[in-house]
Symmetry: C2
Subunit: 168 residues, 2 copies
DNA sequence: TTGTATTTTCAATAATTACTGAAAGTATAA
DNA sequence: TTATACTTTCAGTAATTATTGAAAATACAA
């Protein structure tokens, strides 16, 4: 396979995967492009590589910065801004985990906690099932949340090493 | 909080969470409804509870069956089909993991394997970075995939017990 | 097998989400 | 401070994704 084709495939695959996980396809493509770039890229390079508008590029670069996946790089004697991606996959995984935890798990925990306060006839089957489901879910989410905390603290070698040993 | 309000909040929250993770909002809502239903529900009950059309209900129920999250229930002397959700959260997590692994991780592994075959000048910086990123990604995805296999085999108590012990 | 209840399909349409491009805003060098 | 190089914003538009509803298909009872 030629490099140009491989690059194209990589970017498309990463974009598709992103959209399957609720991440804007273009944002994932910009990320892919930066992941394989040996040097920081300018907005113009990203625009022409992915054939997207300045506005779109700008927006998605900002989002990627909010996810802590890329950084601005300033070159001396150059007014343009350049962008560089964190390349360590384990570190990327941790940053994504951190963000999703903050954006989704924590608000979910709050809602579930609240839902347990539901009032009504304790004999009602519907209420009973509701309470049970919400309770089980809360327990599960708590455990997942704690597991994520461990993952965030751990380094890759130790994490996978321990996991593999534990489950052998 | 009144039961009706709590139910509504639960369904909305589950739907929102689903859409943040790339799952059709309505499909997640149907799932939420069935998760708190003490008895199997008919298509008509789902339609009227969620205010959606027959076609929409049918489509999303089929998708949920493809994810192995719900089952058809046939009642004797009743032509209607009823639907019931798996209620065990750990089992739900395993089924979702199994599907996402099959639908997304395995195809991704194939693509990455393929991308490593890229040809070109070994001195080229761009190619070097590409090969390195793809290689690191492949290693990482392999490890995640193996971790998921362990999770699929394990039971909840053992899984979280071991995890918490391992990381204490 | 025929009539009826129910489910499925899918073209048309609606709703949502993403993108463009140009104008406004900002920072820098001279 | 002014000209210029660049970035940001956002209203309008495009693209994508989800939903409807009615016709076709299916399954069942008599």
């Amino acid at each position: 396979m030629e490099f140009e084709k491989a690059k194209e495939t990589f970017i498309q695959t990463w974009g598709k995967l992103g959209s399957e996980w609720g991440i804007n396809r273009t944002m994932a493509q910009v990320h892919a492009l930066l992941l394989i770039a040996p040097e920081p890229l300018s907005t113009d390079e990203i625009m022409s590589d992915l054939q997207i508008s300045r506005g779109n590029a700008n927006m998605n670069l900002r989002d990627l910065m909010n996810w802590n996946l890329i950084e601005k790089v300033i070159k001396p004697s150059d007014r343009k801004e350049y962008f560089e991606a964190e390349k360590d996959i384990w570190e990327i995984a941790r940053r994504i985990t951190r963000e999703r935890k903050r954006r989704e798990i924590e608000p979910l925990k709050d809602v579930l906690k609240d839902l347990k306060k539901v009032k009504g006839d304790k004999k009602d089957k519907a209420l009973k099932q509701f309470t049970e489901t919400v309770g089980n879910l809360e327990t599960f989410v708590d455990k997942m949340d704690k597991s994520m905390d461990f993952l965030l603290k751990a380094d890759e070698h130790w994490f996978f090493g321990t996991l593999v040993k534990a489950f052998k």
